[in-house]
Amino acid sequence: MSLTRREFLKLGLSAGVALLANPFSNLLFAEENKVKDPDMIGVRNGTAVEMFESGIKEFGGMSRFVKKDQTVVVKPNIGWAKTPAEGANTQPELVAKIIEHAYKAGAKKVYVFDNTCNGWQECYKTSGIEKAAREANATVLAANKVETYKKREIKGNKLKEVMVNQLYLEADVVINVPVLKHHGGATMTSALKNLMGVVWDRRFYHRNGLHECIAEFAGLRKPDLTIIDAYQVMTQNGPRGLSKADVALRRMQIIGTDMVALDTAAAKILEFDPLKINHIPMAEKLGIGTMNLDKLAIKRITV
């Protein structure tokens, strides 16, 4: 496409007007007033969607992570054939909203998948995520076929070789969207544990040291953005849950890029000691992130 001079002027003018008229434009121009970009955003007291909207805005907007024509993987937790109210999976509205933001930021294609614990069709359907993501124009794919995985070597103590979902490796941007839950085996499931959903053989983890494998895998490719859904959290009998009594309304969300820091904060929401959730300190030792929240600039928002 070639532009004539007139067209160029028109374009520039309209872009300028749009920029000025944009209600968020003050963010752009107020850049120098900020001391430091926050490392992590904590949001509370809204719906999952409301909290995400205000949280991501504080974090610089989705355009900070997703550039034009990039492919994006949104990896929620769709592990169980349970309804959104049962708190075993990520909130479908939140997944849809993230997809929407990714497209607004210029994403070419957004993929959603999870290697589920129950049958994938039941999980995708009952969780409401398949429908919500499709309506937001994302491509929802099954992750139950070995053909869609690729072998990767990891120089870990326990994990040497792992089959990883091809899309997770090849996508330009990965957005990790775990739901915060108690976990019978790993004590807690959040950002780091959620990445087991892009791995083919989870039984290997269980056989060879669950915590170590979780920590060692995290270094392979760190998600570009992690959003922990703690709107409702499973406080016991996780990760599946037995009844609604296992789920408590917390109305919180944590947004950030450091999975270790995010999980440390998330453990506190569940009132667990993060040091006792072995994969978090292990991941810190491997240099995945920091558990020292005091060092971080945390922006806390109440919606």
Binding site: K82, G119, E122
Partner: protein, 543 residues
């Protein structure tokens, strides 16, 4: 008419495939209607008490058969269509059709055998019933073969959500595959010469329809002006036409004769054919025999009575002997779990005809045809294979698709508390329970357990599994997901009677999350002070 027939056949075959592969996509009413069309499973289910709802359709089918003839065989029967296809395939290989005689006494014998076996509950009638045979063909042969044939495309197809190739492993079960392969080969050889030989020699449903149609209403009739070109005789797939006479005991009303008649003198009309009108169901018309009404009739009657007597004797003997032989008396122990809704082993093994509808519809593919896990009575009948998969807590598909009443329909809530097996945990040195032995966290079993029957407790530095058997419904997910490769410490043992379990959530209603009462201020309603601009109030956050 012949064209219309082919369209109907095609539609019904597709419909049958759909029923066999659609998993949860179909409603109960559609399944019920479909079941009602297959006479022996339908009757068995009606006598069994659970399937009476759609019996009206079955009765309608029988009445329609009396009027129009064996249209089920020619228009609807999937196995009949398969034979038509196989014989057309044989034509491609230039095999000329020949006259393979229908053995009608055998057919009648099999009919009685089937009826008695069903009434006395020995369950082996499934080996004779055409629908069950067809089901085993689909599930045992067609689906695995299709999966195998398409497997080169798997890398491409499996990247979409639509047509997924599950691989041979998901469906292949040795015995049923080879059985079906042999059966289909035999059918091919016979069909090559005489397409509907099976229908008139081995099929009990065909025999029953023939008995009803004998006194039928509308019939294909031959005019006296027939020049005798014998084209109809050659085309007739069931060898019913001999020297211009139609044997209605074997005619499947396929209208092929009407189609090929060059002088259009074959007509469908009301009334009985004067010649060979009461052609017996149990004798065959010798080829070339010129009709001599009385002779044939009396000969038919005599042999009919003789047949009844001998068949009844044989059937009673067979039943008397087969029940203990099949191990159907007092089953207390079984080797592999039965699907939910089986109620007890006796009900299940005596009613199941091994049509494999539940097996091919099982979304988690845990149902597999048994070999000898459940004795002779259990051969080819569904069992749960916890190695391959587990019974999904949110699924009751199998209980809704059984055509023969072997599986009673269970609403989801009831299915969830019906125990098909029960869990055993062995943490001794004989097995290798990871947290007990290696002292590292695992928790796969408890993590997946939908009822809370397996749960984790802190033991030293690690969490170890424990069992509350009162809540176990035997779904087998713990055994399935257990990462131990050999000698799994957790196993689900089958139950010969399926009792109801307690629901953990019901028995502990006052369970409150410990953290909620812990009073983190974030959980309290803060809508009131949100106006007070708590933009960055660290106190409200636990971190």
């Amino acid at each position: 008419m012949a064209k219309i027939r082919k369209i109907y056949q095609l539609i019904f075959l597709s419909f049958t495939f759909f029923i066999f592969t659609a998993d949860t996509a179909i409603t109960q009413a559609v399944i019920g209607f479909f079941h009602s069309l297959h006479i022996f499973p339908a009757l068995n289910s009606a006598f069994g008490g659970s399937g009476a709802r759609y019996m009206a359709f079955t009765l309608l089918l029988l009445i329609a058969t009396a009027i129009f003839g064996r249209f089920y065989c020619s228009f609807l029967c999937p196995l009949g269509f398969l034979q038509d296809i196989l014989s057309s395939a044989a034509r491609i290989f230039k095999i000329k059709p020949g006259r393979v005689r229908n053995i009608q006494w055998l057919r009648t014998f099999i009919l009685f055998l089937t009826i008695f076996a069903a009434i006395f509950g020995t369950g082996f009638w499934g080996w004779l019933d055409h629908f069950s045979i067809f089901g085993r063909l689909i599930n045992g042969f067609v689906i695995p073969a299709a999966n195998y044939a398409l497997s080169p495309l798997a890398p491409y197809l499996n990247k979409t959500n639509y047509l997924q190739i599950e691989g041979l492993d998901a469906h292949f079960s040795g015995f049923d595959f080879y059985y079906s392969l042999i059966f289909i080969t035999a059918l091919f050889i016979i069909s090559a010469f005489r397409p509907r030989w099976f229908c008139n020699t081995l099929c009990p449903s065909g025999a029953l329809f023939a008995l009803i149609y004998k006194a039928g209403f509308l019939k294909i009739q031959l005019s006296k002006n027939c020049p005798g070109c014998k084209r109809c005789e050659k085309i007739c797939p069931s060898a019913s036409i001999t020297d211009g006479e139609i044997d209605y005991a074997t005619c499947v009303t396929c209208f092929e004769c009407v189609r090929v008649c060059p002088s259009n003198i074959l007509k469908i009309s009301v009334g009985k054919n004067k010649i060979n009108a009461r052609g017996s169901a149990c004798t065959q018309t010798a080829p070339g025999a010129i009709s001599e009404d009385k002779q044939i009739i009396s000969a038919g009657r005599r042999s009919f009575i003789a047949n009844i007597a001998s068949v009844s004797a044989a059937v009673f003997a067979a039943n008397y002997l087969s029940k203990p032989a099949m191990g159907l008396i007092n089953i207390k122990k079984i080797g592999a779990s039965m699907p939910p809704g089986a109620v007890n082993a006796h009900n299940f093994f005596s009613k199941c005809s091994a049509c494999h509808l539940c097996i091919s519809n099982c979304p988690s593919r845990v149902l597999k045809p048994a070999l000898l896990e459940n004795g002779i009575a259990g051969i080819s009948k569904p069992r749960l294979d916890y190695d391959k998969s587990y019974c999904a807590y949110e699924c009751n598909v199998c209980t809704g698709v059984c055509p023969s009443g072997a599986l009673k329909y269970l609403p989801l809530k009831e299915k969830q508390i019906t125990a098909i097996g029960t869990v055993f945990l062995d943490t001794t040195a004989k097995t290798h329970c990871i947290p007990y032995k290696d002292k590292v966290d695992c928790g796969s079993c408890a993590e997946h357990c939908p009822t809370g029957a397996v749960y984790m407790v802190k033991n030293g530095d690690v969490f170890v599994p424990k069992i509350r058997r009162a809540f176990c419904n035997g779904c087998g997910i713990c055994e399935h997901v257990c990462p131990v490769l050999e000698n799994k410490p957790i196993k689900v043992m089958p139950l010969a009677k399926q009792p109801k379990i307690r629901r953990l959530a019901d028995s502990q209603p006052a369970q409150t999350p410990p953290v909620e009462s812990g009073g983190s201020s974030a959980n309290t309603n803060t809508n009131t002070n949100s106006n007070a601009q708590p933009a960055d109030s660290k106190n409200d956050f636990p971190f």
